[in-house]
Symmetry: C2
Subunit: 309 residues, 2 copies
């Protein structure tokens, strides 16, 4: 019933000793997910004491190395750790071939069900749905086929207003589920008691949007509308606008502009190019457009809890 995001790495390619490539661990409404998996992700998972076994699904944005070179190592390690549960991997077409070739040549087939969901649609699509969450893709504009992802809690049932419910003697425990589902109550005399009189609004489902890597693209705003927490890459500062355009990355100002247009609650920045020594310049630039911006760094945790839960 909450959203907790742990940054495992948030720098762009050419990993340095303390600048890990992209990976994030997301706990959302009780599900445990990994988003991108740059080289060294499994070491970072250990460093930040994430229980490997809990991760059920991995979402890879695109096949540039700083977003997936750690995947084969993690998959192998899960096997060495005697995983038995299914592991679902979502990512661009080709990812399965890369992983299976390596497992084949090392004669190290994994003992758990490893299920690939390869993506090639250029439209946003629902790629995973459980009782708890939904995951949609966000088509991004990068040099190769790339998806962002939106992770949403499913709507919660309405909450019973017990004071009001107990005043109506005819309402039995077996009616509660209908009330939580938003239905009105019909008495034995055929009178309607409106659901709004018997229940309270449930907590608003939380949503997290992940957009990396991408050029500035207003197209994505429609999908991100009202997301609580948005990660949007900011590889460059606007002093390097030309580089951002030629490499199809974004500047901090552009990331903030998307956050502002999509009316998100909070923006987090990352995927910094190695050329910048002072990361605060990203924050300053973004905050000119969107005040509630924050920098990612490895080990940082962003946690959202709806106050009325």
């Amino acid at each position: 019933m909450s959203l907790k995001l742990t940054i495992l790495g948030c720098h762009s390619a050419t990993p340095r000793s303390h600048a890990h490539p992209t990976s994030q661990y997301l706990e959302i409404n009780g599900e445990h997910l990994l988003i991108d998996c740059g080289e060294g992700t499994q070491m970072q998972l250990r460093k930040y004491k994430v229980k490997f076994s809990r991760i059920s699904r991995i979402f890879i944005s695109h096949l540039h190395g700083d977003h997936f070179y750690g995947l084969i190592g993690l998959i192998s390690t899960l096997s060495l750790l005697n995983r038995k549960n299914e592991l679902h991997v979502y990512g661009p077409k080709g990812l399965k071939e890369i992983i299976l070739l390596q497992l084949k040549l090392s004669k190290s087939w994994v003992d758990y069900p490893l299920i690939f969901h390869e993506l090639d649609s250029k439209s946003s699509e629902l790629i995973y749905e459980s009782e708890k969450i939904q995951v949609h893709t966000v088509p991004l504009n990068h040099r190769i086929y790339t998806n962002g992802y939106i992770f949403r809690e499913k709507p919660f049932p309405r909450k019973l207003d017990m004071q009001s419910v107990l005043r109506h003697k005819e309402i039995q425990t077996c009616d509660y589920q209908n009330l939580k589902d938003g239905k009105d109550f019909i008495t034995s005399k055929g009178e309607t008691i409106r659901n709004a009189q018997l229940t309270l609004d449930p907590p608003k489902p939380l949503a997290y949007g992940y957009c990396s890597d991408t050029a500035y693209s207003e197209e994505i705003v429609q999908y991100l509308q009202g997301v609580d927490l948005l990660y949007h890459e900011s590889t460059f500062l606007e002093t390097h606008q030309d580089l951002a355009e030629s490499t199809r990355h974004s500047t901090a100002r552009e990331a903030a502009s998307i956050a502002s247009k999509a009316q998100v609650q909070k923006l987090i920045l990352g995927h910094y190019s190695g050329r910048y020594k002072d990361l605060n310049l990203f924050l300053e630039e973004a905050q000119q457009e969107f005040k509630d911006s924050e920098l990612c760094e490895a080990g940082k945790v962003f946690e959202l809890n709806n106050p009325d839960r």
Copy 2:
């Protein structure tokens, strides 16, 4: 004119936050080589301030992930760093396919000549020779096709004994190379001055033997004879002899036994299984068989210099 080995990682699979998988950086007689390349090797290279650009050749022992999952990342990073020089990669058949598939799918072809030398011979062979060094394979006994490597300095020319040379007025500067090559000097009167009277023994070429991963195998002793420094894996202690046999790894005592039989100068141990908390047990076990044993750890440097150079 020396041998300097930097340990970048020396633990077996399932990398932990401070237990990096196998990789070693070897400087031998002016050549700069990388041996195995587990995940995170490029971060370790940066941590220990190795200049990436110097590495000219990479030797992969086998296709288990803890020995090569870091290779694709390093190859990509070298491209991002604008490498132009050739990079030669030696390793089992299949390695090229793994690397090229990933470069293809990420549309990130490298801008420097990347040359694969795929190995499939089950006999020891000379796989690289320059003016300075020779590299031979050592066929190992592991669960998949695996090679160890021996890196040897080429024999050095004999050193002129200038006091003696200058006593013989007929010897000109242009004769020096012949003397260094071991030839006798013939005077104008046809007299022979033996080379041993005019020159001194050159320094003994240094050699480094790398054996990982392998079950105990006396077969390899013949190749390792007289090597100065030997790395031999010691995944287990002899309390787990059964595991060593079933997984085709070695115990510390077995590593030491090979060192003793091959009459090497120094043995270094590594590839420790994650089950052991106290690595000193490896050292104690090995030293019972071979006194000059030492433990590897990331960042440790082993340096050999022939005193008479």
